[in-house]
């Protein structure tokens, strides 16, 4: 349904675009909300995982007999409890993963491929017994050399993780295995010819460290498997339908036998789009014939769940002296972790997406190394490649003496621009975000010594996908709304506003919940910035069914023809010759006589939402460097981003702010630190330093709305783009403040101090 059709369909716009009270607010502020670890069942057991202490080791043997014999232990599982899976790629969140790798990531088989890799698991009657049981499992390892860094992992003499992994995407096909899983490339125009036209060329190499999504709530799962295989599972996840599919597959169950409930979620950001504990809890429960609950510690979250890639990126750009970009080249090398499947492909496609450049060539390598398998993290792949490009754009601006916003404006992608990855853009809002930032007081505020200002833009595609949502009119005229994608950023409030406006009922009479997998048809996960976009389309469809049904009932009640009735602002109204004969009937009126006029009133939207429009944004940051400590303080931060249409402005602003803060952490502090033994040294929030509220100022958010013509209300997804510009914006501000171009993230205090000293810059200067 298009925007024009929506407004002609009898809906009002009273709640959409306003800051309605969030329906989950009371439970969350009172502590009543139930997160993954808050579910319990009578008779449940405690599940714990034995994890590899080695970064790379062959598993020679596993003897669990002593653990099994320990009183209080009800089940022990190892690789032998999971059937092997054939090599087949499946969607694992926003990236693809091979099922052969999924089963090995869940429980190691031939090798332990990273410190923290699950090797066995136990279910026991208490935590203490479970811990003792883990110590009794005798695993014999043959320790192997390991490799962590992506460039080192690409060397021909690097320790090999998989002897059946051959680089795809190269000709001729290699006959030797490699840690390079894949080479990808996109090309537009003629890159060599483009560089020949350039008056200025900038080439730089950049390095980023792996960073974790940093969700406050660790992974948790509670599984109860009965003797006939019927399974109930509660877990913290961004996609309970995919959890159901993957777990059913790994345990050899019919999908219909598995019912998954998604708990309230304490953050996901892409990191909860794949399975870890869920199949283990199910396998233990099946063996023990009792429910099993498993909750990760923070250390396990860091050591055994997927962060995003670390990477090495080389960028070379050329521009004319007038500032026109004529050539853009990039080579991206991304860590995938222990199994193939880094987000290098979207990184390649996004690198130059904000710009109209005739000649582009971007090459990407997907490289395995002895770290946890990477998972999606908010616009996966894009922050890294766009950090590098935005840094080089800034250098070009300086070399040409051009304003960095004006330079971006000159080269901005617009409607009709051919993207580097092929198709032409529809309506997009990059230019509007650049203009919005330029008009701010922030942009025009003077700076002092050791303070710097930086700007950067960013792009993410967004997606739609399979979505089911239902609306049911209750006997008292209130409306129950059921969505199927976990609410990680305001979905329930947004969909309730859409339903209220579509049906013409008060917002507080619409009660939204997230249904379990037994209550709705398949829903793809919450990711790709899709849930408000596609969920609202499904609700519009469900509401349309209700409106059509009520009009049909009115026709029968009033004994008239369809063209004599219309749905408008919550009522079915008689038209024309019968207008004076009957009173309009509200939804509540129909609810009272639902049974007598055909039965319960409801609608279900079942769609594969298409038409997601990309969201582009521009960030502006001021920071101050302490030359004595190297510490960087963010002074001021402004985000301008195209939301299409903000269903709930406060939530959209929250997405902008959250993405910006995560980008600040990524740029300034966060990194995985490995020892020479391949073991993670900072597996906790004390030493893995993420920003907290006192580290950042209020993030100013500017909502730009360039309507997406393919959505009934013009909505675009917004959740991922905000993490893309911060890395480049902050690096550019650092250059402005210090005169030093930092090309390695994070720009943490020791690195900043070292760079200042090497440059001979001191506090006294």
């Amino acid at each position: 349904m298009t925007m024009a059709e929506t407004t002609a369909n009898g809906s009002s716009q009273t709640y959409i675009g306003t800051r309605t009270i969030r329906p989950d607010g009371v439970d969350k502020v009172t502590g009543r909300a139930r997160f993954g670890a808050d579910f319990n069942l009578p008779g449940q057991l405690v599940g714990r995982v034995l994890r590899s202490p080695h970064a790379h080791a062959r598993i020679v043997s596993i003897d669990a007999s002593k653990a099994e014999a320990l009183p209080g232990v009800k089940a022990v599982i190892t690789r032998d409890d999971f059937g092997d899976q054939p090599s087949e790629f499946v969607p694992a969140g926003e990236m693809m993963m091979n099922y052969k790798d999924v089963v090995r990531n869940v429980m190691a088989r031939e090798k332990a491929l990273y410190e923290g890799h699950a090797v066995a698991a136990v279910a026991a009657t208490s935590v203490a017994i479970a811990r003792r049981a883990l110590k009794l499992i005798d695993v014999k390892y043959e320790v192997l050399p390991h490799v962590i860094d992506v460039v080192q992992a690409m060397r021909p003499d690097a320790p090999l993780l998989h002897d059946d992994l051959f680089t795809a995407g190269v000709e001729p096909k290699p006959d030797k295995p490699s840690n390079i899983a894949k080479r990808v490339e996109i090309t537009l125009g003629d890159i060599d010819a483009g560089f020949k036209k350039a008056d200025v060329v900038v080439e730089r190499e950049f390095k980023t460290a792996p960073v974790h999504q940093g969700y406050i709530e660790p992974h948790a799962a509670l599984a109860s498997v009965s003797e006939d295989g019927s399974t109930e599972l509660w877990c913290s996840t961004q996609g309970h339908f995919l959890v159901r599919a993957h777990c059913a597959r790994l345990l050899g169950l019919d999908i219909s036998k598995v019912r998954v409930t998604a708990s309230e979620i304490g953050g996901g950001f892409g990191g909860k789009t794949i399975i870890y504990l869920e199949p283990l809890a199910m396998a233990l429960s099946r063996k023990a014939k009792r429910p099993v609950k498993m909750v990760m510690s923070r250390e396990e979250v860091f050591k055994a769940t997927g962060p995003t890639s670390g990477a090495t990126v080389r960028v070379k750009m050329g521009a004319t002296r007038d500032g026109k970009f004529v050539a853009g080249f990039a080579e991206l090398k991304y860590q995938a972790g222990a199994f193939q499947g880094s987000p290098v492909q979207p990184g390649v496609m996004c690198a130059y997406a904000p710009y109209d450049i005739a000649n582009v060539k971007v090459i990407g390598y997907d490289v395995v190394s002895n770290r946890p398998k990477v998972a999606a993290y908010r616009a996966p792949g894009a922050p890294i490649s766009e950090f590098a490009v935005e840094s080089v754009v800034d250098e070009i601006a300086k070399k040409l003496g051009l304003d960095p916003i004006e330079l971006r404006m000159m080269n901005a992608a617009r409607e009709g621009t051919k993207a580097a990855y092929g198709p032409k853009f529809g309506p997009i809002g990059l230019e509007e975000t650049l203009n919005a930032v330029k008009k701010t007081e922030h942009w025009n505020t003077p700076l002092r010594k050791w303070q710097g200002r930086g700007v950067a833009s960013g792009f993410w595609f967004n997606i739609g996908g399979e979505t089911c949502a239902s609306l049911t009119v209750n006997e008292d005229g209130t409306v129950s709304l059921m969505a199927g994608t976990p609410d990680i950023g305001g979905l329930r409030a947004s969909l309730a506003a859409v339903a209220a406006d579509e049906l013409g009922v008060p917002y507080d009479k619409v009660r939204p919940i997230i249904g379990d997998t037994g209550s709705l048809g398949f829903n793809f996960l919450t990711g790709g910035s899709r849930s408000a976009f596609s969920g609202s389309m499904a609700i519009v469809e469900a509401a349309k069914q209700i409106k059509n049904d009520l009009c049909a009932r009115a026709c029968k009640l009033w004994e008239t023809k369809p063209d004599q009735v219309a749905f408008e602002h919550g009522h079915v109204k008689p038209l024309g010759s019968i207008a004076e004969k009957f009173k309009p009937m509200s939804i509540a009126d129909f609810a009272k006589i639902a049974g007598k006029t055909g039965g319960p009133i409801g609608g279900v939207g079942r769609i594969n939402a298409q038409g997601a429009g990309p969201s582009l944004g521009t960030h502006l940051v001021d920071l101050e460097v302490d030359p004595e400590t190297g510490r960087v303080t963010i002074l001021r931060y402004t985000v301008a981003q195209d939301a299409g249409r903000a269903l709930h402005p406060a939530y959209v602003e929250g997405q902008f702010q959250g993405g910006a803060v995560q980008g600040i952490g990524w740029a300034l502090n966060e990194e995985y630190i490995y020892g020479d033994d391949g073991k993670l040294q900072n597996a906790g929030f004390l030493d893995y330093r993420m920003p907290v509220a006192s580290d950042v100022p209020m993030i100013d958010a500017i909502l730009v709305e360039v309507a997406n013509p393919r959505h009934p209300y013009g909505v675009r997804g917004v959740g991922e783009t905000p993490i893309v510009p911060p890395l480049g914006a902050i690096a550019n501000a650092m250059e402005n403040a210090t005169g030093i171009r930092f090309t390695e993230l994070p720009m943490s205090p020791p690195k900043v101090l070292k760079a200042l000293k090497e440059r001979g810059v001191s506090a006294k200067a």
Binding site: P91, E185, R249, G252, K424, I463, E466, F522
Partner: protein, 99 residues
Amino acid sequence: MPRVVLVGNLAQITGGVAEFQLSATSVKQLFEQLSDLHPALARHLEDGVAVAIDGQIYQDTLLEPIGPNSEVFLLPQIAGGSASGDYSRRRARNPACTK
């Protein structure tokens, strides 16, 4: 006839041929015609590609129409599609998955 362009690594499978003029009127027909021309493409099309038709990106939709003058790009999939549909196909092929 619609102009069809393969983006990224897909052209390697067709021996470097990246552009086609085909008579397809839907994504389903497009996949069938491409698979007839280059059978090695079939698995990649089945595993999942994104299809951009006149600038609009579609994923996991076989029935989307293609106009006679459309410009069509086959792209790497931006995010995964339906696990349910893939699951049933894999169940049929995998005798190990019996329950």
